[in-house]
Symmetry: C2
């Protein structure tokens, strides 16, 4: 059996009771932290919490040759852990299909996602979000600034009155996480200088939410990673009231976007 277990966002307390039980029952525990990571717990902390050894897999061990994971799942109970929900990344669907091809039973134990948290923490309504995008480090898409596909998605969402959740690039191997400051700088140069909402450390006990024009966010600091940015379309009155109450945004700025 291969159990895909989402750890949630922050620390050892962010997992579900069902997920914790699956890890405790597993004969072999694997994890990957290259697609995301927990805000306040690393592999050592997880190993201490579960009093077990956790095999941390790099990209190659998950995507090219996951034989060790599949062998363990074929002969016993294996758990594969990721931050957030395990099936948000395409790569884990691929791993699940490889397991099924070998006749291995699989199950998904879902986790809390940054998408859910971003909506809840900002008061921006879930059903008013369009397609989400990822903003890559410029050096990673072989160009400068923001890829046209990201600008197109934001524009297309806004023209339909929909918010855009912008995930920020992660280079876990180099311990490098794009900050909202960098993201706002890039976006202010590529789309108009519109309202942006930053969510820092979503899922932690003390998340930060800020709403300002992108050019203003570009000169602010938001502390430790992970960060997210939302580019809102116009604001429903309750969304405007929520952003006013939950951030230090000027009433004038919020009113400019109020429907």
């Amino acid at each position: 059996m291969l159990s895909f277990v989402g750890l949630g966002l922050c620390d050892t307390e962010s997992i579900t009771l069902q997920g914790k039980r699956a890890i405790e029952k597993a004969d072999h525990v694997f994890a990957e932290f290259y697609t995301s990571r927990l805000l306040d717990a690393n592999a050592d902390i997880l190993e201490q919490f579960y009093e077990t050894t956790i095999d941390i897999c790099g990209r190659a061990e998950v995507e090219q040759d996951p034989t060790a994971i599949l062998d363990a799942a074929e002969t016993g109970e294996a758990a594969f852990l990721t931050a957030g929900d395990t099936m948000i990344s395409t790569t884990h669907t691929d791993l699940r299909l490889r397991a099924m091809e070998r006749g291995i039973e699989t199950r998904i134990i879902h986790g809390v996602t940054a998408q859910t948290a971003a909506s809840g923490l900002t008061g921006l309504q879930n059903y008013r979000f369009g397609k989400s995008v990822t903003l890559p480090f410029p050096e990673n898409h072989g160009a400068t600034g923001v890829p046209p596909s990201v600008c197109d998605s934001i524009d297309s969402n806004r023209s339909r009155g929909l918010h855009t959740l912008v995930y920020l690039d992660i280079k876990a191997a180099q311990d490098k996480y794009m900050t909202a400051t960098t993201a706002a700088t890039l976006l202010a140069d590529s789309i108009e200088d519109t309202l942006g909402v930053v969510v820092a450390r979503a899922g932690s006990p003390s998340p930060t939410v800020a709403a300002e024009r992108l050019s203003t966010l570009a000169s602010m600091e938001f502390g430790d990673p992970l960060h997210l940015v939302v580019i809102p379309a116009s604001l429903h009155h309750l969304e405007a009231d929520a952003l006013s109450a939950l951030t230090n945004a000027s009433p004038q700025l919020i009113d400019d976007y109020r429907e």
Copy 2:
């Protein structure tokens, strides 16, 4: 302090460790199950699990006069529980703002959502979903069939290559939950007879996933609620492979939608 706690999707095991701790610490526990409910646990089961009394609030006690909740949060630790994540419904953002107006500290303890689960269970990629919609019972929008706004959102998403998550109406007071069978019947009459994906009991140990044309889904049964429907756009090759592996869909049907 008012803690908004998401219970997740299925039963007493679906909550996070952090959420469980918040309930155990609370002086007063409130819950509402009119926006959603757990698949396999009711208020009695929760009360036994937590060895506490839970005040179940109707719509009026949350949306019109939440004085009891706010009074409890002002004088002690109050927890407000919902299925899934607590901030998916607009109404809970409103309750949070009312609490803040009274100077009450609030926090959100996120839960797993049906949206996360639907993406993970189908292999349809999270970043390829557009705006989601809710399909109401025809008698509740004063007309027959599917509201034009729902058809428009599905069409608009598909024209951009994006999937649509269709939440199905809930009338918890009457214990009435729209089935995927009903939804497929309504949708087959209102949009073209396209590929639909049903997810029944997302977040439970034995979720059902089916992919067929809407007219076929309209003649199938999917067991106990809750159900969801996804109307996919074209399928990325990994999405097509996932739907083939995870459902009984004919290879021909899947290939018709493969990019």
